[in-house]
């Protein structure tokens, strides 16, 4: 009875599939913690964040999602308490000098005094800074933590998301080519 024989082969077949998947997974060297963003190619969520103010002085104007239309925007979530943010700061500063790109920051769950001091010490590359003291804007962008950076095109769609610090390598291999592609 060949069909009966096949039945006895079924456990082996199931195991072969599982083992192959596991081998493939291990070989692929994938990081199980790496996650895709659900917002790629979707319009940036609408929000309005007040500007960063400290000592009665406005350090930067706030951010409106409507302002993303018509230009390429880099939206960077940062905080003074976040160590990796310091790691990416030189790259963020370099990005601010990229022609025809607006660099906009969202100061996440920070105290204005801490943020102002941090920016005074390390330099303030942002054209605008909105504050999100209670972490209300962050989940709109599907944020996991800081730093995270979004590249938004001229029609206001999110085209790229970087989770974690933008290292020099990420800047060169991922962010800058993506900006170039958007400029065309």
């Amino acid at each position: 009875m060949p069909s009966r024989r096949l039945l006895y082969l079924a456990p082996l077949a199931v195991f072969a599939v599982i083992a192959a998947a596991a081998a493939f997974y291990l070989q692929s060297g994938r990081d199980p913690r790496l996650l895709p963003s659900a917002l790629i190619d979707k319009p940036a969520p609408a929000f309005s964040a007040p500007g960063l103010e400290y000592n009665g002085k406005t350090i930067r104007q706030g951010v409106e999602s409507t302002s993303f239309k018509g230009r390429i925007t880099i939206l960077n979530f940062f905080a003074s308490w976040c160590t990796p943010c310091l790691v990416e700061h030189p790259q963020i500063t370099a990005l601010s000098k990229t022609p025809s790109v607006a660099l906009v920051g969202i100061n996440y769950k920070d105290k204005p005094a801490d943020a102002a001091n941090w920016l005074a010490r390390h330099g303030n590359p942002y054209a605008r800074i909105g504050v999100d003291p209670a972490g209300e804007i962050a989940p709109e962008f599907g944020l996991y933590g800081v730093p995270e950076t979004f590249l938004i095109d001229r029609v206001g769609r999110i085209r790229l998301k970087q989770v974690g610090p933008i290292t020099a390598q990420v800047l060169k291999e991922k962010i800058l080519p993506a900006i170039e592609a958007l400029k065309k």
Partner: protein, 161 residues
């Protein structure tokens, strides 16, 4: 008899609401005043993954992200969203990974229906086998005397499980 058993089984399948895992990590001041709304928020919270944690729902976790998401859930509920809309709202922003109950689509058909199909297939197989070989095997295996003896034996009852 068998029909009744099937009905009981069916009723069981339908009646079983997933028991809620107890407890949560929800902090003081987070809960909504409206107890009904808060209960809904809890049920929703248990279906959403705390993305930066290890296998915890946002209801279980102390992580800041979990707290933000719990607040977002309550904000949407207060704004009048129904449960489905709240989950869809967060799904749209965080992707499939946030859903602890995976969506039913072509990727997950096997996950959702595989075990049930396996059970049905096994049941069908068993019923066929247990009914048929009675004629196929016994017919040639048992002589009349053996059959008579078997009948006597069939009345016996093992003393041990």
């Amino acid at each position: 008899m068998r029909g009744a058993a099937a009905l009981i089984l069916l009723a069981l399948f339908v009646a079983v609401a997933a028991p809620s895992p107890p407890a949560s990590a929800i902090g003081p001041g987070e809960a909504l005043e409206d107890a009904k709304l808060e209960d809904r928020a809890r049920v929703i919270g248990r279906q959403l993954r705390c993305l930066v944690c290890q296998n915890q729902s946002i209801d279980d976790s102390d992580a800041p992200l979990a707290r933000d998401l719990r607040r977002l859930v309550r904000k949407r509920l207060t704004a009048g969203d129904d449960d489905r809309q709240v989950i869809a709202y967060i799904h749209a922003r965080y992707g499939d990974f946030v859903l602890l109950r995976p969506p039913v689509d072509e990727r997950t058909w096997l996950l959702w229906f595989g075990p049930a199909l396996a059970l049905l297939a096994a049941l069908a197989f068993l019923f066929r086998r247990l009914r048929r070989p009675r004629t196929a095997v016994t017919a040639e295996a048992l002589s009349p005397e053996e059959a008579a003896r078997a009948d006597v034996l069939l009345g016996d009852r093992g003393d041990e499980p």
